[in-house]
């Protein structure tokens, strides 16, 4: 079987300037800090980052934002990271951050659609609001829905709790968040995980993300305070 175990620096070595990256987690709970640290060391810029939120300074995707690596952030909420407003309003072109806000349920479903071979989906969320601008409204049985399109990325950075050497992964508590959908919606998927075990050691009943989705496994992830 192909060896997927590598260091964080090896795993992120293929991420290039301008790539798009999905990062799991909600307010950094469920974000892979060891992979984000490696990406900060790699220091590639002009990234498009897709994540539920902007984390906080020093945690989650907040690390990439503080380091000036993010050109475009696609997220549902950025209010708890003051760095975002600062960079959205800066006059320094090189530091400028573009922020695309997407309702959280729509963001989750767009990622799911991207990984599930769907051309999009119809949601009532956002009808009659500025979220509906430039989107097709489709009426089904008398009710209006927005056509929302699938979302995919070049890479996904996931945070697992236990991962076997095939890549089968479990998620503890509320770390699950966007991780299972992002595992399916990127061309190259890296999981930073707390514990790497032998194949067969995870009860198949408890596997959330199948190893078929995982390209690289990095051990040494920890349980972090927010």
């Amino acid at each position: 079987m192909k060896n997927k175990i590598m260091t964080a620096d090896e795993a992120v070595a293929r991420i290039k300037e301008g790539d798009s990256i999905m990062v799991g987690g909600f307010m950094a709970c469920g974000s892979p800090e060891i992979l984000l640290d490696a990406l900060v060391r790699r220091n590639v810029k002009h990234l498009t980052v897709i994540c539920n939120d902007a984390g906080v300074p020093g945690r989650g995707v907040g690390k990439l934002i503080t380091n000036g690596q993010v050109k475009t952030l696609i997220a549902s909420h950025v209010g708890l990271n003051p760095e975002v407003a600062k960079r959205m309003n800066t006059d320094v072109e090189e530091d400028k951050l573009e922020c695309i806000l997407v309702p959280q349920g729509t963001l989750a479903e767009r990622v799911r659609a991207g990984g599930a071979g769907l051309g999009g989906f119809l949601t009532p969320t956002g009808v009659g609001t500025i979220v509906a601008e430039n989107k097709q409204v489709i009426n089904v049985d008398g009710k209006d829905y927005l056509l929302e399109r699938p979302l995919r990325a070049d890479h996904a950075l996931l945070r697992g709790t236990v991962t076997d050497k095939f890549g089968n992964t479990t998620y503890n508590g509320t770390t699950r968040t966007f991780n299972p959908m992002m595992a399916t919606a990127a061309d190259y998927v890296i999981v930073g995980t707390c514990e790497v075990v032998e194949i067969g050691q995870i009860d198949p009943n408890n596997v959330v993300t199948s190893g078929i989705f995982i390209d690289a496994i990095v051990g040494g992830e920890e349980q972090w305070q927010i």
Binding site: Q104, A108, F178
Partner: protein, 216 residues
């Protein structure tokens, strides 16, 4: 007058029925959980992936992998479940949440609500609010009646909408209001205020319920 937020939270709690699945927003709405009457069991949903959320975690006993949507460490009750964000919002949009309680910047007589952006000033994002108000069976806005005296309840919202035509009920420190096709009906008034005072603090003409009660 007791703490305004507690008055509002305590009154909201009376709207929740035994067995309801409820999503409470960040801030004042979270306080509603402290006022659930004896004998009423509600199931709290947290959109970051919990059904059956319990109280905040005791200091020193936190599981750092378990937070609520406000990024506070919480516990889960026996019988709880964790899930991913797509499942969570399937639950929300699918009409499986009986009630959602959230704050607002503005509400209007058509049941429109604005809560997520002040263009040019504050752009925090909508988070899960747009999905919650569209999907929950009952939408309760829990907020202070005015912003330091400035109206928050209008004929038409000034700020960009979170959703249109979704609000069922508005509960403030001054009273309880229901949004109907005819407009906003004042059904309860807090004993510290007169109907005239509530009307003066409101930017749309209130319909006074013939069955007007004291808010307790």
């Amino acid at each position: 007058m007791a703490d305004i937020k507690e008055i509002i939270a305590a009154r909201v709690a009376k709207e929740l029925q035994d067995g309801d699945v409820v999503n409470l927003g960040i801030g004042l709405p979270t306080m509603v959980a402290n006022f659930i009457p004896e004998g009423v069991d509600i199931i709290l949903q947290s959109e970051n992936g919990i059904m059956g959320m319990g109280p905040a975690a005791e200091k020193g006993k936190e599981d750092v992998d378990v937070i609520n949507a406000g990024a506070q460490y919480v516990t889960v009750n026996p019988g709880a479940m964790y899930f991913d964000s797509a499942t969570s919002f399937g639950i929300i949009r699918g009409g499986h949440v009986d009630a959602t309680v959230l704050g607002a910047l503005e509400v209007d007589c058509h049941g429109n609500v604005a809560s997520w952006i002040v263009p040019g000033k504050m752009v925090p994002g909508m988070g899960g609010a747009m999905d919650l108000v569209v999907g929950a069976k009952k939408v309760i806005i829990a907020m202070q009646h005015t912003q330091k005296g400035a109206h928050k309840i209008f004929d038409e919202c000034r700020l960009p909408y979170t959703a249109v035509g979704v609000v069922d009920m508005i509960i403030t420190e001054m009273g309880v209001m229901e949004v109907t096709k005819e407009g906003i009906v004042l059904t309860e008034v807090h004993p510290d205020f007169t109907v005239e005072q509530v009307q003066a603090a409101t930017g749309t003409k209130l319909i006074i319920s013939p069955d007007l009660k004291e808010m307790i």
